[in-house]
């Protein structure tokens, strides 16, 4: 199939008319569409999906309701019309496919999907096809099951990486999708159809045999097992429906919880931050209390400098007085000595008699000294006063804890700054958490966990029922075999039908396993070939596939490479998809999001050189942030047939425009 044009009106963010033309030249088969995330790339993919299959998908491959597809701005203006049309060719025929939505006549303002009606039209070589033939026509060149491999959303890449996690929910679904695309369901249906006919035939056989003499016992046993089988199959059907519903509910909760996880974290952080605020306040209170106690003595610190100076002065004064007192004492002592000498007429020092001259000198000195003494008045009271003053001041000047106040003030100031910061953080967190009911979140979690447990229980029940079923089927088969050997029984038409349908069922059942095995080998071969072209690691010898179509990389010795980078994961997933597309002979154009976020330039270059060779038309959605226009896309160069750019007019309105290269 080769796409020619895609046009739309009011589809998703594309308000009004949108139109793009795909390159149809084999040598220039690449179309680039530039746009940032959330501007409309996925919507282009969805336009294609919707016009072909009536479905548009959002996250986790969940279908987007019809009502949500209509452009919101247009709806606000009262325009409730929406349309997507595609022109393409296949097998030498030209096609035009159109899907139109309008509000139902009796509805004034639509508020849900049921208020809208969808009309589909297809022309083949300009001749209108009847509505009931459109699906089978589409199935001829673009069956929905294989659309996975060409309408390729970047998010899908993450899904494929899930395949590597054996037994995960996602991997089972993807495995089913892959097998569906590769023909396994055809055989499964064959087996199921043959099985249905067999059961009916067996019932008829029981009725027939009951009428034949001597075979009642076998017929009754057969009937018994058939009844049991019917009953168990009904139970199994019910269990499977329940399991699907429980799983879907759980997945929806997972989605919600993911959104609220961030809020939950914020709430936790808020609790911690509030505790920090509380501690800060307590610390401040404690320091302030300490401070208040010390303020009692703060007055001493204020006068300390002056009092210290005063004390120094007093000390000097006292020292002077002390010196004076010593000097006076010295004089007093001298006078005493002289007086004694004159009285005894002997020198007080050497003990010798004094001459007249010496007596006269001593007398003169005595006079001088006595005269001096008269001037040496020492104020003892003053001295005592000063001493006691000094003592009093020393008591005052004893160190106090009030000297710690400046330090405490610094600490308090620091805490105050922290307090402001904490307050700001709390405000921010409150904004995030506002209105979120964490009790509700906890309830959802508990519910989700309960659903997981229930799913496990149901799976166990299914296993048990299946085992039971197998037993009855074995017993039934034994009876069939016995009957086959009996000529009267064998002659019955119902018995012959039983034999034929039983054989057919066996063949189809076996073929399913065969095909799965063959496919795995084939996909492995093709994916390995793709991988070798895409990887930059020359020593890798290829890929090995597991039962879930998960792939492991093999090194040059054929050993599994266990540690892989995110980039390597992407390459492996791309290889798988390419391998699958080739195994399933997917004939469509490949429309994909550039999954380049995690890849280095060399890998990107490899991918961009390889992809255009795998498909007749390649449409690449390019995110400016991921790809460097000049360097990364240089490899595509001459293969680029058309370039478009998605621009945002407003959050609900985007526009796509052709860019001249």
């Amino acid at each position: 199939m080769i796409l020619h044009t895609l046009t739309s009106s009011n589809f998703m963010p594309y308000k009004g008319k949108m139109s793009i033309a795909f390159p149809t030249n084999k040598d220039q088969n690449v179309m680039l569409v530039y746009g940032d995330n959330m501007r409309g790339k996925t919507s282009l993919l969805n336009a294609l999906r919707w016009v072909f299959y009536g479905k548009a998908v959002g996250r986790h491959s969940r279908e987007i309701p019809l009502f949500e597809l209509m452009n919101k701005d247009a709806a606000l203006e009262g325009d409730w019309s929406m349309e997507v049309a595609a022109t393409f060719e296949s097998d030498g025929h030209r096609y035009e496919l159109r899907r139109t939505v309008n509000k139902r006549a009796y509805v004034a303002t639509p508020s849900r999907s049921e208020d809208l009606e969808v009309v589909r039209a297809m022309r083949k070589d300009d001749i209108a096809l009847p509505e009931h033939l459109i699906d089978s026509e589409i199935n001829r060149f673009a069956p929905e099951q294989t659309s996975r491999f060409f309408l390729f959303d970047g998010e899908l890449l993450d899904e494929y990486e899930q395949l590597l996690i054996d037994g995960s929910e996602q991997s089972k679904k993807i495995k089913e999708a892959i097998e569906q695309a590769l023909g396994v369901p055809t055989l499964i249906r064959g087996r199921d159809d043959a099985g249905t006919i067999l059961k009916q035939a067996q019932k008829q056989q029981s009725l027939d045999l009951q009428k034949l003499g001597g075979l009642e016992e076998h017929a009754n046993k057969q009937k018994f097992h058939q009844t049991q089988i019917d009953s168990i199959e009904d139970d199994l059907a019910e269990l499977n429906v329940r399991l699907r519903s429980v799983t879907e509910e759980r997945m929806a909760l997972d989605d919600d919880l993911e959104k609220t996880e961030a809020l939950y974290q914020a709430k936790q952080k808020l609790t911690d931050t509030k505790a920090a605020e509380y501690k800060n306040e307590a610390d401040q209170a404690q320091l302030n209390a300490e401070r208040l106690v010390h303020i009692k003595d703060a007055w001493r610190e204020i006068v300390r400098p002056l009092l210290t100076i005063k004390r120094e002065h007093l000390h000097k004064e006292n020292t002077q007085l002390t010196e004076q007192m010593f000097a006076r004492n010295h004089v007093v002592t001298q006078i005493a000595q002289l007086k004694e000498a004159m009285k005894s007429d002997k020198c007080q020092t050497c003990g010798q008699s004094l001459h007249e001259k010496e007596r006269a000198a001593a007398g003169a000195l005595l006079g001088t000294l006595e005269s001096d003494l008269l001037g040496m008045k020492v104020n003892q009271a003053s001295f005592n006063l000063i001493s006691s003053e000094i003592q009093a001041l020393d008591k005052l000047l004893k160190p106090t804890n009030a000297a710690l106040i400046p330090q405490l003030d610094k600490q308090i100031a620091k805490l105050r700054v922290e307090q402001t910061q904490i307050g700001n953080a709390i405000e921010k967190l409150n904004d995030i958490v506002q209105g979120q009911d964490t009790a509700e979140i906890a309830r959802q979690r508990a519910k989700r966990d309960g659903l997981i447990r229930e799913a496990t229980r149901i799976s166990e029940d299914i296993k048990t029922a299946q085992a039971n079923l197998d037993k009855h089927e074995k017993d039934l088969a034994m009876i069939s075999k016995v009957l086959q050997s009996l000529p009267t029984a064998r002659a019955q038409k119902s018995t012959q039908l039983v034999n034929i349908s039983s054989a057919l069922e066996k063949i189809y059942a076996r073929s399913i396993d065969r095909l799965r095995n063959d496919l795995k080998l084939s996909v492995e071969r093709l994916a390995s070939a793709a991988f070798k072209k895409l990887t930059t690691q020359g020593l890798y010898s290829g890929l090995r596939i597991n039962s879930n179509y998960g792939l492991t990389i093999l090194d040059e010795r054929g050993q599994e490479v266990t540690v892989r980078s995110a980039g390597a994961e992407q390459i492996v997933a791309l290889s798988l998809i390419d391998g699958l597309a080739h195994a399933g002979r997917s004939a469509g154009p490949v429309v994909m999001d550039t999954p380049f976020g995690r890849l280095d330039p060399k890998h990107r270059s490899n991918i961009l050189s390889y992809l255009p060779t795998t498909t007749p038309q390649l449409v690449l959605f390019v995110h400016e942030g991921e790809v460097n226009r000049t360097t990364d896309l240089a490899g595509l160069g001459s293969k680029i047939g058309a370039v478009y750019e998605i621009q945002e007019v407003s959050p609900r309105h985007s526009r796509i425009q052709k860019v001249t290269q």
């Binding site: 023909g183 159809d193 063949i507 065969r514 195994a583």
Partner: protein
């Protein structure tokens, strides 16, 4: 799906399975049953009965041709 029957992996698997479990089963009948499945392979789930009915018609015809005793 492929348009070329020679490259049809499902058919190849079916034929191989027949030789393994029911070697006496008529190949022609097998091919005709497969054709029915191919024709209906993309039927919607609510349309499942059609392929089964077509197959029943085919098998009834075969039994009729074999000539058995109807009750």
């Amino acid at each position: 799906m492929t348009q070329d029957p020679e490259n049809d992996m499902a058919l190849a698997a079916l034929l191989k399975a027949a030789t393994e479990v029911e070697p006496d089963f008529p190949t022609d009948l097998l091919l005709r049953s497969y054709a029915i499945q191919r024709k209906h392979q993309f039927d919607r789930e609510d349309n499942r009965e059609t392929s089964m009915q077509d197959l029943k018609i085919l098998l009834d015809a075969v039994v009729e041709a074999q000539g058995g005793t109807a009750q």
